[in-house]
Symmetry: C2
Subunit: 191 residues, 2 copies
DNA sequence: ACCTGAACACCGTTCAAGT
DNA sequence: ACCTGAACACCGTTCAAGT
């Protein structure tokens, strides 16, 4: 990669981060290019599709979420670790408006650039869930896929202005469904 | 309304129903007009905004959902009635792809054409919830808003190709969170 | 190698002109 | 009253032409 290309690349990424923070995942590619003082075709050259752009934007965060699961796995009781990580996950999908739909489709499509990172998050979560299930503190009739789905659903909920104010409470309700024997004190402690 | 106008109106509505069934709520207005063999401006004249179109498309179904709540209220035990209606609601938001986001925003915006019908659904659900709470079969720390939110979240989940296959199971998980004392047999009976 | 303007096919909105 | 084509300002995609 040539020097000017590399400079364009990182500048575009920084600008994209701003614009997406403002307008969510439906931000206009043209708008990003404009704000970066660069031709639209140049943006498309670095990121041929909107998904490629979000791959670059989100990969680090997704990997951090996977990493977080490993840490919690060794240092916390299974149920608290699960809830703490679940909270972390919901917060992440809330980081950019609309990102949850993107992840859901990336998760379904193996061709997607984000698929690998999503799968890593998925299985990191599954490990935490299985540990809590073995411990008897998480309901047995769930798997990593269900956990991922519920995390996404909560992410979607807090993304809706109508439901965002109730986010914390809805988190509590869904969490209590995941924990087989939900003593509300323990849940609050883990939060 | 003139005769030709009325004819156009109902024809547009029928065509819109088809196109939306195919392409979801993001269907192009231009496309609908085209398929109806009518000028785009004519479509916009009858339905000035996409939301006005969906008001016409969905109002009958929303009112039916409200009606359904009243019926269940008189003829079923509180917990079964609640679960049965909840299921009905999830099925409805699944009727057109993407309709759940539309409803969430209509619910938040009092100016929306769909606001009244959404509010009616909302309070019909709240009545069923309160009845089950008084009965002791639904958890006490929820209100109609939470019920509406969870219904929407499930609607969103089954709308995602990645999660749709697990819809029934996720319904069961969330339902068990709503019912304070969830004996899985009773839940299944109510389904 | 890398960048870019321009052409293309789409979209929703608006409005003057037709019947 | 009601309909409509056309102009407008947007969008993402593509590509020949520039450095």
């Amino acid at each position: 990669m040539r020097a000017d290309a590399r400079k364009n690349y990182s500048h575009l990424l920084a600008v994209a981060r701003e614009v997406v923070a403002e307008h969510g995942v439906d931000a206009s590619m043209r708008d990003i290019a404009r704000r970066a003082d660069v031709g639209l075709a140049t943006l498309l050259r670095h990121f041929p599709t909107r998904e490629a752009l979000f791959d670059a934007l989100l990969r680090a965060n997704l990997d951090a979420l996977t990493q977080k699961a490993s840490e919690l796995e060794t240092s916390n009781p299974p149920d608290e670790a699960l809830v703490a990580w679940f909270r972390e996950g919901v917060a992440f999908v809330h980081s950019y408006s609309g990102v949850v739909a993107l992840m859901a489709s990336a998760h379904a499509d193996p061709e997607s650039a984000l698929h690998a990172s999503c799968a890593a998050v998925h299985s990191a979560g599954a490990r935490l869930l299985h540990r809590a299930q073995a411990d008897g503190t998480a309901r047995a009739d769930m798997d990593g896929e269900d956990l991922f789905a519920l995390m996404s659903a909560l992410g979607w909920l807090v993304d809706q202005p109508a439901f965002a104010p109730r986010g914390a409470h809805l988190f509590h309700v869904i969490t209590s469904a995941i924990l087989a024997n939900p003593p509300s004190n323990d849940v609050k402690k883990a939060m």
